[in-house]
């Protein structure tokens, strides 16, 4: 006699089981009123994840290739609660397993033999750091490291002429700008801002303080990005007009102010202190503006500047995260960004509409108008697009530096068992989702992988953990097919639930694993217009 209850129980559990395999985890916002782009992320199959957006997001694939959106095992996220040991011991699918993080000294990785892709040809990867360019070059020359980042501009020529070294130009688009916070006098007067725009000799700065290959910025966004250079070019240097305009605004003899910066080497600003002093000289000699040079600690500087609290000029820039104009313009000139003081609807209105248009040509007139508005309003003065370079020993085959993302070391061959890479600074943590500094992102990228990735020599998007992500006609629904047979470093298999869990830990504030390092998950927030719930 079949026990009816037992049978029902069995059948329903079979259905539940099947259900939990095919209708997997998901995370969703209550509704789209929270202002962000993501409505829900669902595991719609064992190896399929569907992203439903509140607003069209044509740049989704470019964003999904970015490191903070890497995937870790769901069980691991649950067991660590998204914090604690996950910060220094990520588990991923990447070609490298983390062996040890020697604090203050180095990070050591070993080859992951079950990697789904091209396995590394060597056994150990070591990442070290040194704050100054000259020190890094010395270590490279003495053979104690195999590749370094951020070559000092003064050393470009000597590396090019050195037969033992390979000079590797880095094609990452970047911009340096001189910012002013218009909520502080006298920057509230557009004539003052325009006078400053006219009064800076940008060519002199690029010629004398930037390495060969750098350009004066004609627009905020580099021209290598589609629609970046739509619209009129920036003002030419005209000191007489500048002085006249400044006098008209009521400052014939200039005024006193400050120029803030942080002493951190970036591709857009290789020598911050020197360049700050150069601005000081130019402002004084061309416009009679007397500025005090103030150096701030990096974290504090970023905070104060991005919140529009710096009462003077400040030097900052931007290196592209992904190859799309929204990465430059939308971040800086959106309605919610207070870094330049007042926000201007003339600019952000156009950008908001343009970001929903997938076709470049269709969007062009909007970006033209937006760039022209930026030129007219002068919230900041774009200065330069810096050429930066990396260097490696000649013995390293296929030494490279991607324009987007950190080098893919498993594609190189140092001809020996260990490859040593030296960057600027020690990472803050190895949990990519909650970090923004390049030094942390480059380090976790070796261990974890996102759904998509950037090509080794261009901005093209390639498959990684997802064989592809396709969008519907208006870019409001994106479906990603997960690669099968991928293993994590702890032996477990990758499935859609891991993807959902990883994204949820970052984007869903109510998620139990939403902990991280500082809990800010900046890139989830800013690339998708906010965290849900």
């Amino acid at each position: 006699m079949i026990n009816k209850k037992l049978a029902l129980g069995l059948i329903s559990s079979i259905f539940l089981l099947a259900g939990s395999v095919s209708a997997g985890d998901s995370v969703s916002a209550k509704d789209c009123s929270y202002g962000g782009k993501v409505k829900s992320i669902e595991a719609t199959g064992d190896l399929e994840v569907t992203f439903t957006m509140c607003k069209p997001d044509p740049a989704f694939r470019a964003k999904a290739a970015f490191t903070p959106f890497s995937i870790q095992p769901k069980e691991y996220l649950d067991s660590t609660g998204g914090g604690g040991s996950i910060l220094e011991n990520p588990i991923g699918t990447g070609p490298w397993k983390l062996e040890k993080w020697n604090r203050g000294d180095s990070i050591i990785y070993t080859r992951f033999d079950d990697y789904w892709g091209k396995k590394p040809s060597f056994e150990k990867l070591v990442v070290r750091w040194a704050a100054d360019g000259a020190g890094r070059l010395i270590e490279l020359r003495s053979g104690t490291v195999d590749q370094i980042t951020n070559l000092s501009p003064d050393d470009f020529d000597s590396v090019k002429g050195d037969s033992d070294l390979t000079f590797i130009p880095v094609a990452n688009p970047n911009t340096l700008y001189l910012a002013m916070t218009s909520t502080f006098k006298p920057f509230d007067d557009p004539r003052v801002r325009k006078a400053i725009a006219l009064g800076i000799d940008r060519s002199r700065i690029v010629d004398n303080y930037f390495p060969l290959g750098s350009e004066v910025a004609s627009h905020f966004t580099p021209c290598s990005i589609a629609n970046g250079c739509a619209g009129d070019s920036w003002y030419d240097f005209d000191p007489d007009a500048a002085k006249a305009l400044l006098a008209e605004a009521g400052f014939p003899d200039g005024f006193k102010s400050k120029i803030y910066y942080r002493d951190v080497f970036r591709g857009y600003l290789p020598e911050p202190g020197i360049v700050a002093v150069e601005f000081q000289s130019q402002l004084r000699d061309n416009l009679g503006i007397d500025v005090e040079v103030v150096v701030m600690e990096s974290g504090e500087f970023i905070d104060e500047s991005t919140n529009g609290r710096l009462d003077g000029f400040y030097l900052l820039g931007w290196g592209a995260d992904y190859p799309h104009v929204t990465n430059f313009l939308d971040f800086h000139f959106s309605a919610s960004n207070p870094q330049y003081g007042d926000v201007h609807e003339d600019i952000y209105g156009l950008l908001e509409v343009a970001s929903t248009i997938a076709n470049e040509d269709t969007a062009r007139p909007l970006y033209t108008a937006a760039n022209n508005a930026i030129k007219r309003i002068v919230p900041m003065v774009p200065i330069a697009h810096g050429a930066s370079a990396s260097a490696a020993l000649n013995t390293v085959q296929n030494a490279h530096f991607r324009p987007f993302g950190a080098p893919l070391f498993h594609h190189t061959d140092p001809g020996k068992d260990t490859f040593v890479f030296m960057q600027n600074a020690e990472p803050i943590s190895m949990y990519c989702a909650d970090e923004t500094d390049g030094e942390s992102l480059s380090v976790c990228q070796q261990v974890v992988e996102p759904l998509l990735g950037y090509a080794i020599d261009s901005g093209n998007i390639e498959s990684r953990l997802a064989t592809d992500c396709t969008g519907n006609s208006d870019a409001t629904v994106w479906t990603c097919q997960i690669r099968s047979g991928v293993k994590f470093h702890d032996g477990s298999s990758l499935d859609a639930n891991d993807v959902v869990a990883s994204w949820a830990a970052g984007i869903d504030q109510s998620n139990k694993n939403h902990k991280g390092n500082t809990g800010a998950f900046e890139y989830y927030s800013y690339l998708f217009d906010g965290l849900m719930n």
Binding site: G104, D105, R128, I138, M296, G299, D303, N307, S429
Partner: protein, 359 residues
């Protein structure tokens, strides 16, 4: 003797309290808000409220100080705001570098300084004496960071392809890592416990660790990396010790009891080593404590020049980043170490000079 030691210990207590108070006040006085400094644009009011609760910054100031003092006594320094890790763990990782550097500097300074001082005194008024004293004068006038940079240039670049080349930065060559002795010996150590921190603290002294595990490769490598920083750091104390040794020994050699010994027929060598030196060393021991302070100060500059991640450099960075727990903990530890050393010096002085004990 015991009373003397007890007396010195008792005097240290109010000084320790003063150090704690000063550190606490200074860290609080630094302008800027740690929440905003760390969290950046995410620092809304609600987030900061949570942040302040998490780090105990919302309590009244005297409660904070009381809690702080209580925790310091049990060596619980809380978590670093910037790194979200226990400060004691960061201390365990960073202090050994500074200790190796400072101890190395002290040892070199003492041996070289005393040696030079003795030679100068014995060869009083000859060219050796004059030459050494000129060098000593130049030595105390050199900025330590400049000397470090010049040494790095000389040994790191100019002598690059010679056997004299020395690494200009770091503690070990890339790819080499020091394996803690307790791992080598197969001890069971749970990560994160006090016992592990205690053992790690010793294991992070790479030179000592390599010595007791017999790892000559690491031992040689670590010492090579320490040579330049130690030379740079030890120069000023070495010069000071040389001068004081010389003048002290000269003074003692001129004293009556020395002349008596010589008249008695005691050999010159014995006169110096048995009778004169011991008394001549007293002023040297006196200034040793002071020199240690100079060494710790100089360590900040040396660590910056040679890229060593020690306590000094971390402290400067923490001050910039308003990381209160680190600022307080590191300053207290350095001051306590300094106080302890001075205490040792005072006590040893009591051994050497019986008159002091009777004060």
């Amino acid at each position: 003797m015991i009373t003397y030691i007890i007396k010195r210990l008792l005097i240290s207590i109010p000084v320790l309290f003063g150090i704690l108070l000063v550190t606490f006040v200074l860290a609080r006085l630094i302008p800027g808000d740690p929440c905003k400094a760390i969290l950046g644009e995410k620092a809304t009011v609600e987030v900061c409220e949570k942040f302040e609760k998490r780090f105990g910054l919302d309590q009244p100031i005297h409660t904070q100080f009381f809690l702080y003092s209580k925790r310091v006594v049990v060596a619980d320094f809380g978590n670093s705001i910037r790194f979200s890790r226990p400060v004691s763990q960061i201390l365990v990782e960073r202090f050994p570098v500074t200790i190796e550097l400072a101890l190395g500097g002290l040892v070199v300074a003492i041996f070289a300084g005393v040696f030079l001082g003795i030679i100068s005194a014995l060869k009083h008024n000859t060219s050796v004496d004059v030459g050494t004293m000129v060098l000593a004068n130049v030595g105390i006038s050199m900025p330590v960071f400049w000397l470090g940079l010049m040494l790095a240039y000389l040994f790191g670049l100019l002598l690059k392809d010679t056997i004299f080349w020395l690494p200009p930065s770091g503690r070990l060559t890339a790819g080499l890592s020091s394996i803690p002795f307790f791992e080598v010996w197969g001890w069971e150590v749970l990560k994160g416990t006090s016992k592990s921190k205690f053992l790690e603290f010793f294991a992070n002294h790479y030179i000592f660790n390599a010595l007791i595990t017999g790892n000559w490769e690491i031992f040689k490598d670590a010492i090579r990396h320490m040579i330049l920083p130690v030379i740079a750091l030890s120069t000023i104390p070495m010069a000071i010790i040389a001068r004081i040794t010389r003048s002290s020994l000269l003074e003692v050699l001129g004293r009556d009891y020395i002349r008596t010994a010589k008249a008695k027929g005691v050999k010159s060598k014995n006169v110096v080593s048995k009778h004169a030196l011991r008394n001549a060393m007293l002023p040297v021991v006196t200034i040793l404590g002071l020199q240690m302070g100079g060494l710790l100060s100089g360590a900040v500059l040396t660590e910056t020049v040679f890229g060593l991640s020690g306590v000094g450099r971390m402290l400067v960075e923490a001050i910039y980043a308003r990381d209160y727990p680190i600022i307080q903990a590191f300053t207290v530890m350095i001051a306590v170490a300094y106080m302890f050393i001075n205490l040792l010096v005072d006590i040893s002085y009591g051994f050497l000079d019986p008159r002091v004990r009777l004060e």
